[in-house]
Amino acid sequence: MSVLLNDLFLAMLVVLALVAVRVRDLVGAVLALAAYGFTLSLVWAAMGAVDVAFTEAVVGAGASTVFFLATLLRTVRTERARPPRGRGPALAAVLLLGGLLVLAAHDFPHWGDPASPASVHVSPRYLEQGYHETAAPNIVTAVLADYRAYDTLIEVVVIFTAGLACWLLLGRRRT
């Protein structure tokens, strides 16, 4: 059931991505992207990655949508028509690389495989010792904020830098 639901969500993702790319009206494209973000959060939730689903819902479906719409306020609403030239080589390159990726994906471990490298490396130690070492019942929080805090620290710095860049570049009054 869950796998079937997941396949449905993944199919919806492909459709929504195509809509977002093809639609000429950019507000429509942004809304398709928001639906994409929300569907993706459902995929994460169906996989049991609730923390990731939460983040995807608030950022992918929420904040980034508002930012895109605010950007459209400053620019134009419709996409300019591009001349349909040079599509052949691009399509060939996409098909080739996409085919290679699909081919390579067959070597991936199965979904939830307990013998996969990701499951036998440091994960067991985190799961067994996480609560004793950090007193945080939510193991995702323990990993993100303690064991892998360096990653999270740089992430916050990146977001702050984005805010600073917007502050410095946008909305200045030229006198």
């Binding site: 608030v58 605010a70 400053r74 904020a145 303690d146 999270t152 916050v156 805010g163």
Partner: protein, 151 residues
């Protein structure tokens, strides 16, 4: 400039809901130890309340409630909280971002690391909420009619 929303229903509901959404954002930040969530998600929800204020009550109302410069400063303070909690480890002879050496009176062992997580989650919440609010404020500032200043 984003104007006040036409509908009195939207304005009233937003005015009434914003404090509760902000309370929920704090819950998400502080309950990250026990349930999905944490500083990042809570921070985004907090920023979303200010975006909501601007969209429903108008940009002037947002400017009345928060100052952009202060918000950016709070974002920097968030990054600073995280960094300070991190470098306290090396200063006390432990690894970077090892919260076990944080000076918390009356607590020892793993709970100190749990408290350290709470400290940096608060830092993350400040950093993310401030940065996202500033990005929205700046993106939505010019709107219509002010494009000529980008010449």
């Amino acid at each position: 400039m984003i104007q006040e929303h036409d509908s009195v229903i939207v304005r009233t509901v937003v005015r009434a809901l914003v404090p509760f959404i902000q309370l929920f954002a704090l819950y998400v930040v502080f309950h990250g130890h026990y349930s999905p969530g944490g500083g990042f998600q809570g921070g985004v929800i907090l920023a979303a309340t200010y975006i909501l204020i601007a969209l429903a009550l108008g940009r002037a109302e947002l400017d009345r409630r928060v100052r952009e410069g202060v918000v950016l400063l709070l974002s920097a303070v968030g990054v600073l909280i995280f960094t300070l909690a991190g470098v306290l480890g090396p200063l006390r002879g432990a690894a970077l971002l090892d919260y076990a050496v944080l000076p918390v009176p009356g607590v020892a062992g793993p709970p100190v690391r749990g408290l350290g997580i709470l400290v940096i989650e608060i830092g993350v919440a400040f950093g993310v909420a401030g940065a996202l609010t500033v990005i929205f404020c700046r993106l939505a500032k010019a709107g219509e009619g002010e494009e000529e200043d980008s010449a």
